[in-house]
Symmetry: C2
C-alpha cells in the first residue's frame, strides 16, 4: 500500500506556516483554528524546524499514508482536504475522519500507520521524520503540549463519531455531519453561515457515516423535502433550518 508518488519540494528556508493557526480556540469539528501561525512554535526558530520538515504537495486521489506501512514520518496538513480511512479485507471502507489545514497525522506510538490517508483535492503537507519527533519535542516543549491538546480533541471527536455510528439513525447521522460542517463554517467565519461546501463526494460521506451511498442520497432527498436544507449542487448544501438540523443531529427527533 501507499505508493506515495508525492513530489517533494525543496525545503523553503522559512516555512511560514507549519500549521495554519492556533491563535484561537480549536474548532470542535476539525481542530483547526481561525488565526494564523501555530502559536505552539511561533516563538521558535522556524529555521530549525525547516531543517527537518519537508513541504510536500500531494495530488488528488493519492494515498500518501498506507495502513500497515512503517510509520516513518508524521505530517501536518497545511492546505487541502485529506480523508483518513481503514479497510477490511473484502474492501469495506470506513473513513475515520477528514483532515484539513492544521491537523497532525501519524503521531501514534505504533511502528506502523494504523490508517490510510488519501488526498481529496490538492493537498500540501509538512512532513517530519518521526525519529526526530522526540528531539523536536525536547527543543520545542510547546509542540508536545500542542500535540497532547490536539490528540485530546481528536479523541473527543472520535467518541462523538462512535456515538453516531453506534446509536444514531441515518437521518441523524447526516444531520450531524451537515450541522458539524455548518457550525464549523459559523465558528471559523470561513463563509456565509448557512452555506456549506462539501469537499467530499457521496461515497466518502457514506463511508464516513457508516452508510451506503444510496442511503445517503435518499436521506439528502428527504432533508430537502422537509425543507431543512437545499442542495443547489451536489457539493453545496444550504442549511435552511439550523435549529431543526441541530436538534435532529443531537437525537431529539421524535419520529425518525
Amino acid at each position: 500500500m501507499a505508493t506515495p508518488s508525492v513530489r517533494s519540494i525543496t525545503v523553503r528556508p522559512r516555512p511560514l506556516v507549519i500549521s495554519p493557526g492556533y491563535g484561537s480556540d480549536p474548532c470542535a469539528t476539525c481542530g483547526s483554528r481561525a488565526e494564523s501561525v501555530c502559536n505552539a512554535i511561533e516563538d521558535l526558530d522556524l529555521n530549525r524546524l525547516a531543517a527537518v520538515a519537508v513541504v510536500t504537495e500531494i495530488e488528488p486521489g493519492k494515498t500518501f499514508i498506507g495502513e500497515g506501512d512503517p510509520a516513518t514520518d508524521f505530517y501536518n496538513v497545511t492546505s487541502g482536504h485529506v480523508k483518513l480511512f481503514k479497510l477490511l479485507p473484502d474492501g469495506r471502507r470506513q473513513i475515520t475522519g477528514f483532515a484539513q489545514a492544521g491537523v497532525f497525522l501519524g503521531l501514534a506510538g505504533s511502528s506502523t500507520y494504523s490508517f490510510s490517508a488519501e488526498a481529496i483535492d490538492e493537498v500540501r503537507v509538512c512532513r517530519f521524520p518521526r525519529r526526530k519527533l522526540q528531539s523536536l519535542m525536547v527543543d520545542f516543549p510547546a509542540l508536545e503540549k500542542r500535540l497532547l491538546e490536539t490528540a485530546s480533541n481528536e479523541l473527543v471527536a472520535a467518541q462523538e463519531q462512535i456515538l453516531l455510528l453506534g446509536r444514531k439513525t441515518a437521518r441523524e447521522r447526516l444531520a450531524s455531519f451537515l450541522y458539524a460542517r455548518c457550525s464549523h463554517a459559523l465558528a471559523c467565519n470561513h463563509k456565509a453561515a448557512q452555506s456549506v461546501t462539501l469537499a467530499m463526494n457521496r461515497n466518502d460521506i457514506a463511508d464516513y457515516l457508516g452508510l451506503t451511498i444510496e442511503t445517503v442520497s435518499r436521506t439528502f432527498t428527504r432533508l430537502k423535502a422537509e425543507n431543512l436544507i437545499a442542495v443547489p449542487n451536489a457539493a453545496t448544501v444550504v442549511v435552511l433550518d439550523v435549529e431543526a438540523l441541530a436538534s435532529l443531529a443531537d437525537g431529539f427527533s421524535s419520529e425518525n
Copy 2:
C-alpha cells in the same frame, strides 16, 4: 448528572501506585501494562503527587463523571472496571470504552466532560484537580509524555472501534470484542490464554458494540454453536478457536 456520592479516603502519605504500571509496552486493547508502577513518575517524588491526588473508592453502579458537568478533575483508574458512555436525549446509550487500571480519564481540553463514567465493580481512582495539571506537567515532564502516548493509543483504539461500528456485522463485532479481550489476556498474562472473564454484562456489551442485547445474545449462541467459543457462565468465555475468531474479527468471514 454525576451525583458522585463517592467516598473520599484520607490521602495516604505515599500512594504507592498512581497507575498500575507502565514498565512494558501498552496493551493494545486497554492501554494498561503488565509491570508495576508508572515509569513516567516512578523516579519522582511521589509525596508531591500525593499532595494533589486524592485516592477515592467508588461503588459499583455509581456514575462519578457526568457528561456535561464541569471538568474539575482528571482521574487515573488504579483498580476495578469503569464504563465510559454517552447518552442521547431519548436514552439511547453508546459505551465508548471500558477503562481499567492505568487509564487516565478526563484529560480533554474542554471545560466540561464529554462523556460519563460509571463504576462496573468496586473501583479505585486517583483524582487530581485539573487546574493543577499544567503545573504537574511542568514539574513532571515525563507525565506529559505519558499522557500524549496514552492519548495517541486511545485514538488508535477509537478509530478501530469506528471501523467496527461503521462497517462490521454483528458477528464480526462480537468476535472483535472477544478476540481483543482474549489477546489482551494473552499479552498481559493475566490468566490462561483462552479463558476470558467479562466484567460487563450483555447490556453493556450491546451498548459498546452498537447492537441490542438480543442480538448480542443470539450472536453468542451462534458462536457457541460453531464451536468458536464456550460459555460456561455468562461472565466467562472460553475461546476454542483463536484463529477463527481472529479472522472473523478482522473481517475475513466469507459468509456472515
